[in-house]
């Protein structure tokens, strides 16, 4: 007779950049109420269904893998979430957007409309809970508005020297680029990413966003607009 395993796994957490900022803001937004589980770093192609020692050893390679420490950038961690689905599910949800990449000139606006494949067994449905839209660098946008049920606009936050992400919830997202060139320096384009994650499904897709340094000036003489590059 052996002893039963009654151990609890104990892990130390670190604050993310967003967590530190929420703590510094002291506006009540630093209040942990929920958790999610992720399997970042796990490559399921290492799951060996043909293991010679039998099916108990299928996950041998994964289970013996040492994991890396957590890093504090909320955009680069918890990328792949575990999801609760009924047993026997053979197709998992996949999020797709109406644009494969976003390109905006200064001050221009576009709308991103995601749908989810295989959601509730159907194709290309809007998730009822909406989507989390996360822009990796919120300084590059003057407006980011979640449209539709449960949609939320971004809240006013102080300017930061470095890139900081922001998450907006909604069925779709209206995104307006900055209309000043101060962040460009000598660059002609600024790059960031937009990550769309289904609230209900947890499926996500990341698309690149490019802001070009184009200013459209309309002269008082009535001439047509001149583009300054």
């Amino acid at each position: 007779m052996g002893y039963l395993d009654n151990t609890t796994i104990t892990v130390d957490a670190i604050l993310t950049k967003a967590g530190r900022q929420a703590l510094a803001r002291n506006d009540g937004s630093f209040r942990i109420t929920q958790f999610a589980l992720g399997d970042d770093e796990i490559d399921y192609t290492l799951y060996n269904e043909d293991h010679p020692n039998g099916s108990q050893f299928n996950g041998e390679a994964i289970e013996n893998m040492p994991l890396l420490e957590a890093f504090p950038d909320e955009n680069n961690i918890m990328i792949h979430k575990l999801v609760t689905l009924p047993r026997g599910t053979s197709k998992l949800p996949v999020v797709t957007a109406n644009l494969s990449a976003v390109q905006l000139s200064l001050g221009s606006t576009t709308t991103i409309n995601p749908t989810t494949l295989n959601f509730s067994g159907l194709s290309n449905l809007k998730e009822p809970g909406g989507y989390f839209f996360t822009v990796a660098d919120r300084r590059l946008f003057t407006q980011a508005v979640g449209v539709g049920a449960r949609g939320k606009s971004r809240t006013a936050k102080p300017f930061t020297q470095s890139a900081l992400s922001e998450t907006i919830k909604g069925q779709s997202l209206s995104l307006t680029a900055i209309n000043s060139t101060s962040l460009f320096g000598t660059n002609t384009v600024l790059l960031t990413t937009l990550t769309i994650e289904g609230v209900d499904s947890g499926a996500r897709v990341t698309i690149p966003v490019k802001i070009t340094k184009e200013v459209i000036v309309t002269k008082a003489t009535g001439e047509t607009g001149v583009q300054i590059r």
């Binding site: 892990v11 130390d12 957490a13 967003a18 967590g19 589980l37 192609t45 299928n58 609760t84 599910t89």
Partner: protein, 341 residues
């Protein structure tokens, strides 16, 4: 279908623990090297920084690793022992030494008329050892102080009387106050706090403020090199005297510091029917089909990360496991996530 679960009542527990560490940089227990910056120690002008205090480093200041461990200072209630800022009628005695004395008097007593009293003796002046705040964290630990001062072969070992004395410490504006006595690790030699004559202790120890205030009359009785030079409008080099008296031959300056760390524990409970599928791209193909057919009946995923969120869905904190934990419909997991503040 869900990717996020709420913590229930009783899943979040706050705990505060006291942590004791060595005070000096790199967790060194006994500070044995005492270096100063020659630039700072200059006392050319009445208002030079070196007339007010000298910072003591753990190694030569030419090293990039050198960091301030404590500062030493000298104060005189009438301003003697240092040069007047303006040596003229109406401003005699207004010097660095007077500034220092009044500053610490305000800090400890909050009263501009109260002088430092050691047992029942009231000297004119004080020496001060001020431990750098970054070193002592929340407070120095009473009962851990061991300071060795010397003059030639004469040695004075000082400690606080927190272990010997029963009852509560005296409470001042600078927190708890203990007497500085001859002895070690909080245990006093002999039975009288009045270490010199029948009236005078060697000093006072303020662990909450990181301060050690020495009584020059008492330490000067045992070690004559610590008798201050108290001339009017003259630089007595008194701070240097204290620095020289800190033993460099068989050095001993030990004091521990205490810190209270508040930890929040999040008991993350994962039931057998939860979190058995993954959005990991290696788990499914481009259209959402499971890559491993054996997983259609018995999916198996591996937990590597726990994300902690607020109500808005912002990822506030994250924890990584040391090894992946397998999860399927026959397994439950309890992961205790600890977040320190």
């Amino acid at each position: 279908m869900a990717t996020i679960n709420r913590y229930g009542e009783g899943d979040v527990v706050l705990s505060t623990d006291k942590v004791v560490t060595s005070t000096w940089s790199d967790n060194v227990n006994n500070l044995t090297t005492f270096e100063t910056s020659s630039v700072q120690a200059t006392q050319t002008d009445p208002n030079s920084q070196g007339n007010f205090f000298i910072e003591v480093y753990n190694m030569a200041t030419s090293s990039v690793s050198a960091s301030v461990q404590f500062s030493i200072s000298y104060g005189h209630k009438l301003g003697s022992g240092s040069v007047d800022f303006t040596n003229d009628t109406g401003s005699f005695g207004f010097s660095a030494a007077r500034c220092v004395y009044n500053q610490y008097r305000q800090l400890v007593y909050g009263d501009e008329t109260q002088n430092f009293i050691f047992s029942t003796h009231t000297p004119e002046d004080i020496y001060v050892i001020n431990v750098n705040r970054a070193r002592y964290r929340h407070n120095l630990k009473p009962g851990s102080l061991n300071l060795r001062l010397i003059q030639g072969n004469t040695v004075l070992k000082l400690t606080d009387d927190s272990v010997t004395t029963t009852g509560s410490a005296t409470i001042t504006n600078a927190g708890r106050q203990f007497n500085l006595v001859s002895g070690s690790s909080g245990v006093m030699l002999g039975s009288s706090i009045a270490q010199v004559g029948t009236t005078s202790s060697y000093g006072l120890f303020y662990p909450d403020a990181g301060l050690i205030v020495l009584n020059p009359d008492a330490v000067g009785t045992t070690l004559s090199n610590l008798v201050p030079t108290r001339g009017n409008n003259s630089n007595g080099q008194n701070i240097q005297k204290l620095y020289n008296a800190i033993d460099n031959t068989a050095p001993q300056f030990i004091v521990d510091s205490e810190e209270r760390i508040s930890s929040q524990f999040y008991f993350t409970r994962v039931k057998n029917f939860e979190f058995n599928y993954s959005t990991n791209p290696s788990f499914i193909d481009g259209t959402g089909n499971l890559n491993h057919t054996s997983m259609i009946d018995m999916p198996r995923v591996y937990i590597s990360t726990v994300g902690l969120y607020n109500d808005n869905g912002d990822l506030l904190a994250v924890a990584k496991l040391s090894q992946p934990v397998a999860k399927d419909f026959t397994k439950e997991a309890l992961i205790r996530v600890k977040l320190d503040y």
